[in-house]
Symmetry: C2
Subunit: 262 residues, 2 copies
Amino acid sequence: MSLSFIDIQAKDNNKVKHLRGLCEQVSYRKKQQQTVLEGVHLIEAYLRTGQPIEAFYLTRQALENPEVQQLLDQNIHAPLYVLTESLYQDVRTLGPGIDIMAIIPTPRSPADINRYSDMLVLENLQDPGNVGTLLRTAAAAGIKQVICSKGTAAIWSPRVLRAGMGAQFSLTIFEHIALETFIPALSLPVYATSSHAQQSLYQLNLQNPCVWLMGNEGQGVSETLMQHAEGIAIPQPGGQESLNVAIAGAICLFEMVRQRLA
Amino acid sequence: MSLSFIDIQAKDNNKVKHLRGLCEQVSYRKKQQQTVLEGVHLIEAYLRTGQPIEAFYLTRQALENPEVQQLLDQNIHAPLYVLTESLYQDVRTLGPGIDIMAIIPTPRSPADINRYSDMLVLENLQDPGNVGTLLRTAAAAGIKQVICSKGTAAIWSPRVLRAGMGAQFSLTIFEHIALETFIPALSLPVYATSSHAQQSLYQLNLQNPCVWLMGNEGQGVSETLMQHAEGIAIPQPGGQESLNVAIAGAICLFEMVRQRLA
């Protein structure tokens, strides 16, 4: 099959400016209602949802990659922009890999949160790697809903998408939620890890739906929200001060998985 | 108290070149037998080991920070180099934070591995964030020994140190170990997560010392080593393809913690 594509060499080309804007600026992504996926694996995960690609950007070298060719064969209607190597490297926001990016319409949140089903709630998590990793872990653990406060890293940013490895496409995610009104109104138990807590994670009964509240990397869960949560401790025989928030989340979610298997 | 320091403004100053070499080059760190700690928290964790600092580099703004002043008060013998803001930002390898770096002698591995005590073994783990996070998690779980293959990210690099949050200082770590001879000679059970495995993590009896083998981010544990390990699966009700290696490691290590508490 022969593919038709458009060669781009100029830095100030409008298509490149558009891509760069989406890669770098939250406000531009919001205005355009679009975002960028980078890498074959992530684009494939998105395509399995049946949603459309609006455009591909890649290098001439990537165009010769068999995995890329297979991907493009299935998406012959999306325009294909071939950038010079240096132009591509200049625009990309992520690490090395197969050089292909796709512009997609930003998926929309569904209208309603199911208040009686398991949830992961993120309060002001700022590191895109932590947020993406937590989404990937929640999806693996079978949690379907993720609720994010206003201060949490943007779920559809290229970095969070990369760390999530496609988890965004199998979860229902609600952003910009006012947790100070949302959390107190919940009837499910809300658990939050805390270094001051007495109750051990391993003493909880996690058979029934519950809410896992994870806080900011530096400050942890805010005092306001902690008043509406049960503080729990992850026993640490080695006596370290703290665990990375994505690690603490994974330990909690998979203790839930373990109990529900039994 | 008044501190005496040396102002540096020139990019080609020898002290700056030395710091830059340590930040950027594995070979230079090896030759100098020194490495760099960045941030107050990490420097404090190192100081609790009782080992010396060889030099501090910071900005004038950091010099006025109370936490930094307290740190420097305890270390009045190390030379203090004050860089201009732009020079410091140019040299630093890590994200934003309080602008202070310390040069230290690279800690040495002890001579002998205890072959009858728990171990975490890393085979060709390449991402500094994953390696540092696994060290931090192992330390919290009470594992004392970490064994690294030649292809694993350098434990004492600034990035791995940052992600480890001081865990390096409470572990005994052995680098550049030939795992293809080391692993087959072990008498303890060796566990490795594998997507092909039938045996569930939650069916293991983890009361006795064991070895956790974690593989490369892309390829997993090599076939050669897998022949000497028990493959184990982490049940994933959500059906994702894979978990991040640091997450998978944390779930395994804390299942061990849970069983030993009981």
